[in-house]
Structure formats: C-alpha cells, structure tokens
Symmetry: C2
DNA sequence: AAATATTTTTAGTCTTGTCTAAAAATAAAT
DNA sequence: ATTTATTTTTAGACAAGACTAAAAATATTT
C-alpha cells in the first residue's frame, strides 16, 4: 500500500493541515520531517499521483478524503501502540513516542483491531490525544489551554500540547498528571505565570507551562 | 545498527548455518530470501565489512560470534512476538508468522524485555521453536520426528518442522496440537504412512506429515 | 584430463528516497 | 512599481538494495 516514508509524509500533512485551512506548505512539511524542501516536492508529486492529496505548484498540498483516512489510520495505530506500551509494558508516557513511530507502520488489520480490544477500546492516548476510530473519526472534547483560564476557574487536566520528553519529565517531577483537578489561584500580569492548586498544594508555574497543558473545564461548578 | 534487510540476511544465514558446518552458500541464501545470487554477494560483502560474518569468495559465509548473537536476537524477537500474538491477541498459530516478520525489526530493548515479562518469560514459540535468551543461548530439548518412532513408542507433540499455514491448518483440522500425546500404532512399509493414537482416537497420517511433527519421547514408559 | 554443467562474481542498470546548487515563482519591502 | 527576500521547484548526484546479462571460478561428467 504505502511505504513507511509515504506514511510519515501523510501523517505530517494531516497534523499540519488541522490548523490551517489553506494548503500545507512545502517548507512546513520539510521542517516537521527534518528533511529538505526539494525532497518534499518530489514526494508530494508521488502522493498526488496516488490520489491521497492534491498538489498545485507553489500552492501547497491538502489531503483528499482517502488521504485523510489513511493518515488518521496511521495516527490511530500510533496512539493505540502508545496506550499499549504504557498500560501493558510499563513504559512511562515520555518513553513511548519513538517506539510508536516504528510500530505505527506495521501492516496487519487484525493486529490493530485485536490490540484495540486488548486495551478495552481506549478513546485517548497517554498524552490525552484522541484515538481515531476505524473510519478516521475522532471525538474532540472541549478543552482549553490552562493559560486561558481565569482566576478561580478550575477543571481536569486532560492533555499536553507539547509532548516532548523534557516537558513530560518536568510534569512528572511536579506531580502533574492527566486526570488531576487544577484550580487557578492567581495570575501574574508581568510574566503570565500562575499559581495553581493541584493535589491540595499550591504551586507556581510559568506561562510556557500553562500554554502546554490542556484543561477540561468543569461545568457544574461547585 | 542494522537495516531490516541486513537483519533478514543475518537471520537466513543463521538458520542455514545450523545444519551445515561448512560455509553457507550464496545460492542457498538467495533461495531462502527469494532474491538473486548477485544481490546476496553484494550484501554479504557489506556484512563482512561490518564484522558480523566472514566471507571468502566462492566459499560461502559463516557468522562471527557477534553475527550469531545479532541473528539470535532477531529470532528472539520474532518468536516472542509470535507468542504475544497467540496468547494476547487471539491469533491462530498459522497467522502469526508474517506479522512477526515485521515486528522483529522494531528497535527497542525495553520493549522486548517488557514483552518477555508480560508473557511470563516463555521458552518456546507457538510452533514449539525455542526462544533464545538475551545472550543468544537457547535450550535444545530432545525431540524426534514422528516418522522415526517405532511401533508402540509414544511421546508428546512438541513442535512442527514445516510451519507453513497450509500444514498448520491441516493439523488444526485433524485436531493435532502441541502438548498432545501421540502413540504409534502401526507403520506401513509401502508408503511410510502410520496409524497413530491421539485424543483416544486412531488416525492415519502420511509419511510427509510424520516427517514434519516433532515428538518428545516419554522416558518413564508406562 | 578435458568437456560440460553449475555456482558465484562482476559490471552495469533501475527505483526509492534523499541531498545540494541553481533557477523560477511568489511574497515583502522600499 | 521596482527591488529585495523568501519559498518552491528543477536539475543533477548519491547510497541502498535490488535486478539482468555476461564473465569467471568451481564442481561434475565423461
Ligand atoms: Mn507520539
Ligand atoms: Mn501521543
Ligand atoms: Mn515465524
Ligand atoms: Mn515460530
């Protein structure tokens, strides 16, 4: 079907296409895949021939319906494997990404369906990212960056924006994990840092941290 | 470290080297990997440069200590994944090989060690083949081809020589599985077929079948 | 031992995916 | 509206891994 390299391009374009409604630029793809723009142009032509994306010279690319589904399926595999590594193989959430990058390219529909079942059909991966279903649909929950909350607002920590291992290890050190309740106590105008209550303790976090934590606001406020 | 292609060559040479004490021939490798002799020559030179095998023109190749260990490690991964697929993901023993061929190339020491633990440190794969330990050692049990047993000899079915899906599916149909006791009732000189007792039933099997089933003879005969 | 057959190697080509350097198109600045 | 800067594409090259066809070495027959 598709080579690992082709799959990586599709995945990159999928992720970059979520934000922008315009075509995804050659340079953006090159940057994300740590490759050169010229390589991207070559590959993009090949993928256009395979009808998974449309490409207009100098105008960037966008995935077709089929390309979108293919990309979502790779992401589905990536995230399911991440759940497996954490839930079954005692990996920490900062250790899973690189291995999942390899496992996502394994070809076997039965494998991934059975894995899904073994894990109890999880809806989110260890970083709080939604797992697409077999059709490529994923349910988007209402979540906000912690930095956007105002004083006294609170909610559940449901995801990370940056999932680099340095950030995740930092969160481990601060005992911040998904599922925990976070309340905004104070916000500093000067540097955007805030004091939050978590685990019944007050801690201070920088603006950069607050901009990388997703919170699901609690509706029926107490 | 090694590419998937290099790993497949090492594995092939390992398997072919077990029987012969001489160098493994270019043609034998080509046949096993369904490639051409000229391709083998190229690759074999590259692997010799990497010190995993010794190559003398026209004399075939043999693995070095390091090559042997590398090959055994790939086989360890292959067989552990096969156990995983059968034990955890409801695969039948005739469905696992092709997926394991892909999974064996995933690079992550932690992954394979944790998988080993999850499975309870199995010693044999679903086809009765031994799983090498981390050092590449594997315990060889005493086993004989069913065809070599004489009348009234009996033992436990512990492995298959041919693990093609057609053969495995045939065994399923005949309700022959690993772990079952088999007793030789009768042998026909004419075609080498035999009548055996299994599951308290007598069935007749051809010489070809008997030459592909491994039996561990029971010592303390009853 | 010479002739024939088989195996193995060499030489040259191809595809995939990458790269650099230069040319062309588009965007931003004056 | 030009000029300048940035982005994108083209052209040409390279490494990995495979292939075909031909040459060379080894094995087998006669
Ligand atoms: Mn990931
Ligand atoms: Mn993730
Ligand atoms: Mn196998
Ligand atoms: Mn096996």
């Amino acid at each position: 079907m598709f080579t690992s390299s082709e799959e990586n391009y599709l995945k990159a374009i999928y992720h970059l296409g979520i934000t922008s409604n315009k075509g995804v630029s050659t340079n953006a793809i090159a940057k994300r895949l740590r490759t050169k723009a010229s390589s991207v142009t070559d590959m993009v032509k090949k993928l256009a021939d395979k009808n998974v994306l449309v490409y207009r010279k100098y105008q960037g690319v966008s995935l077709t319906k089929e390309g979108n589904k293919t990309a979502a399926n790779i992401i589905r595999k990536h995230r399911l494997w991440e759940v497996f590594l954490v839930e079954k193989l005692n990996f920490n959430w900062d250790e899973v990404h690189d291995v999942a990058e390899q496992l996502e390219h394994i070809k076997s529909p039965k494998l991934i369906n059975e894995l899904d079942a073994l894990l109890g059909f999880p809806k989110y991966d260890p970083h709080g990212d939604p797992i697409p279903d077999n059709e490529g649909n994923l349910d988007q929950i209402e979540k906000s960056l912690l930095a956007t909350l105002t004083i006294n607002e609170f909610g559940i920590c449901v995801g990370v924006h940056d999932s680099s291992s340095t950030f995740l290890q930092f969160l481990d050190k601060q005992k911040i994990a998904l599922g925990q309740e976070i309340t905004v106590i104070e916000k500093e105008d000067f540097d955007g840092s805030m004091t939050i209550k978590i685990n019944n303790k007050k801690i201070s976090i920088s603006n950069k941290i607050a901009n990388n934590l997703y919170i699901q606001k609690v509706q029926n406020g107490q």
